[in-house]
């Protein structure tokens, strides 16, 4: 077996299942249950990558999601992922990973030159340099960018699938350690709907790294027992491999479950790689544990320096002893557990304790185990070469621990464990705007749940266990249970019945020495050795000092100036140490310095999982009309109009768009054409006061519209600007049918309803949207009557069925409402039938029209045809800054009727101004030139810009019926300038001469 650091036994592994994997193109073997990190350590590999800024070699620092160093490029090709924490990646057969941020290799990295030049690159050095000359900045930037970044993005679309789902529960427990398990049990037992999430693959939390007894059984047995009990409860949902990433308002929480990811690429089959849970919880119990805090000492970033508790985790959870000779540097007792366990596992351990006189139960145990102690001392240097620690240099601390005295001694070792105590994982509580309080005795922040603040009153939650600085196991178990009870009680469950008996043996801990930044043989920051308080972004104590020196006093400024806490780990292991450096510099306490803001996600969240299944076809709905199947069969090219797919044109025989549109336009004027107008918004209005409402909504008068009659109207907002238009028909007394633009349908419906419900509740009008009730085929052209006559017995001559009226009749045996309105200026019938008949109607009309060469036409031909007649399109010829008068539509603005929306705005000084932009027609000097829409007119043509613009082309087409190009434009004082000529300079430097005309190009 090549796994030289693998212990003979132990670990939650399946040793019968060896797994092959590749790291930096070399094959290794691990076991099922390993993470990439544990497997690499088992194989004696601990040089994982190069650091962000200085390209210093880095190794594995932790055993969990707090990992700042061991980021790898996982997998290849479409499956690749940058910046994956080796400590979290579960091993699977064939796993492939590479080191990042180094070239040509992690062992020999060109970028390491940065390390040599590091003295030139203090925090914020960019801002001070690369300015000479300024014109070269873009070149400098290229190199800066190349040097930055870590891994590489995939270059192929993601082959995996994702899923997301809503969920609701009474109590959500975050963290499946002893506290969380107990909380779940308590709340679950009384019948509350509980969800328990934990980011690890198995439940147990820190117990997985432990070997104590609870109630007389081993931790593993205890975990199994509890989980068995939980699995029996139907009201409990257990989600492992699930990270609670965000805690939002009103107890809305987002969790990311890695469903099949741990099986590796190609393995996932149908099941998603990840699932996003969007959870509404009535109560939340945060039992997220604590993260070990490092000590900051000289060259503390060397591969082989590791959190003390991580070593313990590797021993117990993974059966790996990452070093044979271990030096443990600590300021507290908890590292003694590591020392004891490592000794038992066969390592030679020396404890360097910065305390003067460590003592107490654990100390004695350690001494009994034969562990050597060096007290009141620190590591002042590391002899590191060829990827390995060979020995560390030890010196004694002086009085207050700010300096060292005496002579150096060397201590051979291959692994350094550090412990600076613990930092409760308060991220989530803080994300939810919960206030934190600082515990002076425990030197950390915890959730201030006793004095809840108003900003998070919508987020009822409990904080318990190590994440509340309860470090004793018994304490965690009991308080966890109580929290679960209280949470269930808060939801309304009866909880008096249940209790939990706990017994476990725990030695009392001796006090910590509150010192985290440890001196060396030269002043910190002034010499060769570096003190990294933050490994991920290569941020040193000297950087913080520099920032403070330069006046960046606020912790937020320091963060941004030094980038500390801004890496992919978001400073999980470094934040508190940064604060302690800053508080020392500013001679104030840590709470006075304050923390930076915790923000989601807790650990980086895959974009794909945020999207879930809502990708490709499910990204956004495509709305289709009843006739869509016919359009598909007949080769329609579609235009996106809002969510709708509308036929743009119907090319035949490989026609170009231009040819198709010209043909369609000619057909309509010469014979007949059929347009799918189903997407028009339609509102059914009933009640005594409809005409009163219409008088307010539209600019023209509505009181005298007789049954069966139609009228066109312009709708304005209160600014007096046109925002929609359409035809409204009186179906019968007090019953109207309103149409709106396709894009404006929802807006108009909401506009109408809001006024009715809030301002005029007494107005007797009911409005019902019927947009999709009716499929609409608009039959246009001189032959349209002849076609329709074939399909109905109803008289449709001009006299029985005049222009601007509506009749109900059967068309092809289908009950229909037919409107004689026209957007082309031709004889036209808009046939409305219930949507289920839409396709049948369309096919019947096409069939009947065959002898007249009936031509289906799309939106583009419709645009041309209406422009030939000078009809506007709201949203194209208007843009929210245009009044009816600007459109030359004064005729539709009633002077006599009372108030209507927007009317008061007409007389504002700017709106009443002469020489506003007005809608006019445009003819190019060369009739074959079609101006681009959006081109601008100028009075005086100059060699080059700037030129004063007087207006722009809103619509522009080649009109086959007029036989030349036509256009419309909004032009300053346009009405008074008809007949005058102007220029349209284009972006390619050319320019066209144009004349202003009336916007009606084909008259009746």
């Amino acid at each position: 077996m090549n796994q030289k650091n693998r212990l003979e036994q132990g670990g939650r592994l399946n040793r019968t299942k060896p797994i092959r994997f590749w790291y930096d193109n070399k094959g290794y073997e691990g076991y099922a249950g390993d993470t990439l990190a544990s497997a690499l350590l088992a194989n004696g590999v601990n040089l994982i990558g190069r650091s962000f800024k200085y390209h210093r070699p880095r190794g594995i620092f932790s055993a969990g999601s707090e990992e700042p160093n061991a980021l790898v490029q996982l997998e290849k090709g479409a499956y690749t992922e940058p910046n994956r924490r080796a400590t979290e990646v579960e091993l699977y057969e064939g796993l492939t990973a590479c080191s990042q941020n180094c070239w040509p290799s992690v062992n020999f990295d060109i970028g390491a030159i940065n390390s040599v030049l590091s003295r030139l690159f203090p925090a914020g050095f960019y801002y001070k340099t690369f300015m000479w000359p300024q014109s070269l900045w873009m070149t400098y930037e290229k190199f800066i960018r190349k040097a930055a970044g870590l891994g590489v993005s995939p270059m192929e679309p993601d082959p995996d699938s994702y899923d997301k789902t809503y969920a609701h529960c009474d109590v959500l427990v975050v963290g499946g350690g002893p506290a969380g398990i107990q909380a779940t049990l308590a709340a679950g037992k009384v019948g509350a709907r509980v969800m328990l999430v934990d980011e690890k693959n198995v439940f147990g939390g820190s117990l997985l790294s432990d070997n104590v007894e609870i109630n007389g059984i081993s931790t593993q047995e205890w975990i199994d027992q509890q989980l068995n009990e939980l699995r029996k409860l139907e009201n409990v949902t257990l989600l492992n491999r699930t990270t609670l990433t965000g805690y939002y308002d009103y107890n809305f929480l987002v969790a990311n479950q890695r469903v099949n990811e741990h099986l590796g690429s190609n393995q996932s089959g149908n099941a998603p790689k990840e699932r996003l849970w969007k959870i509404r919880a009535k109560q939340v119990v945060l039992a997220t544990g604590a993260i070990e805090r490092p000590l900051v000492f000289a060259d503390n970033d060397r591969p082989g320096v590791m959190l003390a508790n991580a070593i313990r985790t590797y021993i117990h959870r993974f059966g790996v002893l990452p070093g044979k000779e271990i030096t443990i540097l600590t300021n507290n007792d908890s590292a003694y557990y590591t020392a004891l366990d490592a000794t038992e596992a066969g390592a030679k351990v020396v404890i360097v304790d910065i305390r003067h006189n460590p003592g107490g139960e654990l100390f004695e145990k350690a001494e009994q185990a034969g562990i050597k102690f060096i007290t009141n001392s620190t590591i002042t240097g590391i002899d590191y070469a060829k990827g390995k620690i060979r020995q560390v240099e030890i010196m004694q601390l002086d009085g207050d621990g700010q300096g060292v005295t005496g002579s150096k001694s060397q201590l051979p070792c291959d692994l350094v464990g550090v412990s600076g105590g613990w930092t409760p994982t308060v991220h989530l509580y803080s994300q939810a705007k919960g206030k934190l309080k600082f515990l002076d005795d425990k030197h950390c922040f915890v959730a201030d749940t006793e004095t809840p603040n108003k900003l998070n009153q919508n987020n009822p939650s409990f904080s318990v266990g190590a994440c509340h600085a309860n470090y004793g196991l018994r304490d965690c178990l009991i308080k966890g249970f109580d929290a679960g009870k209280s949470a269930a009680q808060a939801v309304g469950f009866e909880t008096t019945e249940i209790t939990s008996e706990i017994s476990c043996n725990e030695p009392e801990s001796a006090p910590i020495r509150p010192l985290w930044i440890l001196p060396c043989d030269h002043p910190v920051g002034k010499g060769k050795k570096k003190h990294f308080h933050e490994l991920h972004n290569d941020s040193t104590v000297a950087d913080i000092e520099l920032a403070a020196r330069e006046g960046f006093e606020s912790v937020e400024h320091v963060k941004r100036y030094t980038t500390t806490g801004m890496g992919t780990d978001q400073g999980k292991t470094s934040n508190l140490n940064a604060l302690s450096v800053l508080s020392n510099l500013r001679n104030t306490s840590i709470p006075a310095v304050g923390t930076t803001t915790f923000r989601p996600p807790f650990t980086p969240l895959t974009l794909g999982s945020i999207v879930g299944q809502e990708r490709r076809e499910l990204f956004l709905q495509k709305r289709k009309t009843a006739m869509h199947p016919w359009h598909d069969r007949n080769g329609a090219v579609y235009e996106d109009v809002g969510d709708w797919k509308r036929p743009f044109y119907f090319p035949t025989h490989n026609e170009s768009m231009h040819d198709a549109v010209q043909r369609e336009c000619l057909a309509v004027r010469n014979s007949s054409g059929l347009l799918d107008a189903s997407t028009l918004g339609k509102i059914d209005l009933q009640g005594r006061d409809v005409s009163k409402l219409l008088n307010l909504l539209y600019t023209n008068a509505w009181s005298k519209l007789a049954p069966g009659k139609c009228r066109y109207g312009l709708m304005l907002n209160e600014h007096g600007m046109v925002f929609d238009d359409g035809v409204t028909t009186c179906l019968k007394e007090n019953h109207y049918h309103m149409t709106t633009t396709s894009g404006g349908a929802a807006r108009v419906m909401s506009w109408v309803e809001e006024w009715l419900q809030t301002e005029w509740p007494d107005m007797e009008v009911y409005a019902t949207s019927v947009t999709e009730q009716w499929a609409v085929a608009s039959l246009n052209g001189p032959n349209s009557r002849k076609i329709l006559e074939k399909l109905t017995d109803h008289p449709i001559d001009d006299e029985s069925f005049p222009f601007m009226s509506m009749r109900e009749m059967n068309i092809a045996d289908i009950p229909a409402r037919v409107f004689r309105i026209s957007f082309t200026g031709e004889l036209a019938f808009e046939i409305n039938v219930p949507a289920r008949y839409g396709l049948a109607l369309w096919e019947a009309v096409i069939q009947a029209g065959k002898e007249f060469d009936i031509t289906p036409y799309g939106t583009e031909a419709m645009h041309v045809l209406r422009a030939e007649r000078g009809f506007i399109i709201v949203g194209q010829d208007t843009d929210g800054t245009v009044t009816p008068m600007d459109l030359g539509m004064d005729w539709i603005v009633s002077k006599k009727k009372g108030d209507f929306f927007g009317r008061r705005s007409f007389v504002r000084s700017d709106t009443a101004r002469e020489r506003r932009k007005r809608l006019v027609g445009i003819l190019t000097e060369d009739p074959n030139i079609v101006l681009p829409e959006g081109a601008h007119l100028v009075e005086k043509l100059k060699d080059k810009p700037p030129m004063d613009m007087i207006g722009h082309i809103t619509s522009s087409y080649m009109s086959p019926n007029v036989g030349r190009s036509i256009a419309m434009a909004l032009v300053k004082d346009g009405f008074n300038r008809k007949g005058q000529s102007f220029h349209v300079p284009l972006i390619d430097g050319s320019s066209q001469k144009v004349t202003l005309t009336d916007p009606v190009f084909i008259d009746t």
């Binding site: 919508n458 600014h719 309803e753 504002r908």
Partner: protein, 98 residues
């Protein structure tokens, strides 16, 4: 992500609603008589307070009714909802301001 109580349907996820801004802005009846400033004030100017805000919401994916909500714009805490036409609940603004 708020939970909003529709006066008719009960408590629902915020994504079922849409907000239509400040409530209780009555449309003036005498628009003719208003000065440019008064009209401008009605159309464009808003209280936009930091703290208690009475605002209009519609249960867009539900019963499609408009109603009013009293919400603290700093904490996003909702004090209550009420139907159009009803008088807004009185809320101790002392308590609201943070």
């Amino acid at each position: 992500m708020l939970i909003i109580e529709c006066p008719w349907c009960g408590k629902r996820d915020q994504t079922e609603f849409s907000c239509h801004g400040e409530a209780h802005i009555a449309r003036p009846l005498n628009t003719e008589e208003l000065s440019e400033e008064e009209w401008g004030d009605y159309v464009f100017f808003r209280k936009n307070p930091k703290g208690l805000h009475y605002e209009r919401w519609v249960h867009a994916h539900g019963c499609r009714r408009w109603f009013n909500v009293a919400r603290n714009t700093l904490s996003d805490h909702i004090h209550g909802s009420y139907k159009p036409g009803e008088t807004p609940p009185t809320i101790d603004t002392q308590e609201v301001s943070q």
